[in-house]
Amino acid sequence: MANLRPVPAAREFDLAKDSLRDLNLFLHRHAVEQGVSQIRVRNPDGAHSIACGLNADLDVHIHGHVGYYAAGMNKHASVTIHGNAGPGAGENMMSGRVHIKGFASTAAGASAHGGLLVIDGDASLRCGISLKGADIVVGGSVGSFSAFMAQAGRIVICGDAEDALGDSLYEAVIYVRGKVRSLGADARFEPMTDTDRASLRGLLAAAGQPHEPGEFKRVASAKSLYHWNADANQEY
């Protein structure tokens, strides 16, 4: 009877032998057609654009380090990178989950509109730049200009932040646990509310981070740049 149990359809790609094009084409078109939802990728060897543009409820595991734009523009899928990620990981993602078990390079989660990006290690410069509604949880620290011009969404930084955190923020909110070297233009610390703590607790749980919301500070926009001429000394 054990043989009759449904087995999740799985497929493995070895990028030492299979091409990136074949992998992405499979993820875009054939996986759903063939009822395959579990995909394992071996030997990524820093290849760029792995698993970008996904548009289905797939569970993709990449074993190794990836180059630029891994899981870029993701929608619906869950992509786990068992290694480090190059620039732009999860850029412009719309939904789903991207989990980087190692470190992330620059611009992780850039302009992401939705979904959850988890980075267990550190993230480099401009993490969450131009964020448009997604959530990002960084287990380690982030580089300078993180959350630059971030419009909406939440960024959780369990470690420290380098210079110019939250420069030119719009409505995105940052929760930072460690030291902040400097805040960017128009960013300011604000008191944590009960809503913040509840929201943060959910994000930490979703990302598997063991910290308590009470350890974090909130950074948001002072909104003094919302109108470009607000400080103008007009005669009339």
């Binding site: 523009m73 448009k132 103008a232």
Partner: protein, 447 residues
């Protein structure tokens, strides 16, 4: 004796005095719409030689003269095929109303050409109305999403804009209505800043990888354009080719904008004429003419301009301001229920008059084009706008083919630089064609 002295200063003329006094009164630089108002060398400074004893013309409007234009043949499996080499330039929903985007799509579709989105994303209206729609990927990424990437017919990565290369963009709060705010994920009424740098790549080496990502997402089907504002055009075009662009769009300094600083519009970038020649030189230098297509924009107005651009080496042109004027921008009237209604009062309220208006940034367009105001936007009826634009594009194409026939060409893409001469030394130097009546091309050895 006793009469008024009216000796105007060349350095401190009335325009300059007005500028200084306005700056002193407000402490703000001026922001406005449309393009450069100063005169710079342009296509008017070129003339066609046409047929003569040494060239054989085609017969007026009767003989066939092909205008089919194909863009994106380098890597894309589905290049863009257009009936004419005249396209509608990228203009945003936000700067323009959804009704205008609808009108642009209808007209472009009727004449067999493409239209282009802009900052703020793709509206359902323009996608539905446009048979061929180019989807811009801008630094702000406002409204940019993979569903629309897949819905688009081509992707245009915007590096810069002729009116404001390096300057990013602005959409003042009065135009950020609920729908615009929602599409751009911004608070309603905020003065919106469009970033000047892309968020996820920083230079030409990165651009190579970014383009490949977009190709992977689109399964290598859709052409990838790269648009640059005209500054260091020779180098930029070569870098864009190396980055893997299928099509390069070069936007000269006369190109328009919905809102930017006047100091940018008038003082940054180079004229379209010079930019085009540099772009063609770059493609020639790489032996990429015909492999990578070139679209030129920035102040293209007439069929003569189009013909000259093609003769200099462009594969197509893109038009923004001319398109808006065709819709009724700067008209005395707007059309409602088939009647022309004066918009004079609204121009007066803006402190301007038809023919001079550049107040797109205010969102109070008297003829309902560059507005999000629910009352004003009704002044542009999509069907009326589409008809006018269709007529304009048809006229340009007729003028283009008329000139091409007179030059003996059965295909407008056969127009060539040898068909042109320049009226001024400056234009001759910039365009790289001889001064009329001479064989002299300034700056070229042996001439």
């Amino acid at each position: 004796m006793g009469g008024l002295q009216r000796e105007e200063s060349a350095g401190f003329d009335r325009h300059t005095i007005d500028y200084i006094q306005r700056a002193a009164a407000t402490g703000l630089y001026e922001i406005r719409g449309l393009g450069a108002k100063r005169r710079v060398p342009n296509f008017d400074d070129l003339l066609f030689l046409a047929a003569s004893l040494s060239r054989y013309p085609l017969e007026g409007y009767r003989e066939r003269c092909a205008t089919k234009t194909v863009l994106g043949t380098r890597f894309a499996s589905r290049p863009i095929e257009l009936a004419i080499p005249i396209t509608v330039a990228g203009m945003s929903f936000g700067a323009l109303s959804a009704r205008v985007k609808d009108a642009l799509g209808r007209a472009a579709t009727e004449v067999g050409t493409s239209t282009t989105t802009g900052d703020g994303g793709m509206t359902a209206e323009e996608r539905a109305a446009s048979k061929t729609l180019v989807y811009q990927c801008l630094p702000s990424r406002y409204g940019f999403n993979p569903d629309d990437v897949r819905r688009a017919d081509a992707i245009e990565i915007v590096i810069g804009q002729g009116a404001k290369p390096g300057g990013g963009g602005m959409l003042l709060g009065q135009k950020v209505n609920p729908r615009v705010a929602r599409m751009r994920t911004l608070p309603e009424g905020v003065d919106q800043r469009s970033a000047s740098r892309h968020p996820d790549w920083t230079g030409p080496d990165d651009l190579v990888i970014k383009i490949k990502e977009l190709r992977e997402i689109t399964d290598w089907e859709k052409p990838i354009y790269v648009k640059v504002g005209a500054t260091r055009v020779f180098n930029d075009v070569k870098l864009a080719v190396h980055a893997g662009a299928d099509v390069i769009v070069v936007d000269g300094m006369q190109g328009g904008t919905a809102a930017t600083q006047t100091v940018f519009i008038e003082h940054v970038g180079i004229p379209t004429l010079a930019a085009l020649r540099q772009a063609v030189d770059a493609l020639d230098d790489l032996n990429m003419r015909g492999t990578v297509q070139l679209v030129i924009s920035g102040g293209i107005r007439s069929g003569a301009d189009v013909a000259k651009a093609l003769a200099m080496g462009a594969d197509a042109v893109a038009i923004g301001q001319g398109v808006l004027v065709a819709l009724g921008c700067n008209s005395d009237t707007y059309v409602a229920d088939g009647r022309h209604i004066s918009a004079a009062d609204e121009y007066t309220q803006l402190g301007t008059a038809p023919g001079f208006c550049h107040h797109c940034h205010t969102g109070k367009c008297p003829v309902g084009i560059t507005t999000q105001d629910p009352v004003l936007e009704l002044r542009l009826e999509p069907a009326v706008g589409a008809k006018r634009l269709k007529n304009y594009l048809k006229t340009l194409n007729m003028e283009l083919t008329t000139i091409a026939r007179a030059c003996g060409k059965q295909d407008v893409h056969h127009l060539e630089k040898e068909d042109l001469v320049a009226l001024t030394v400056e234009a001759a130097a910039m365009a790289g064609v001889p001064l009329a009546g001479t064989s002299w091309i300034p700056g070229q050895p042996g001439r």
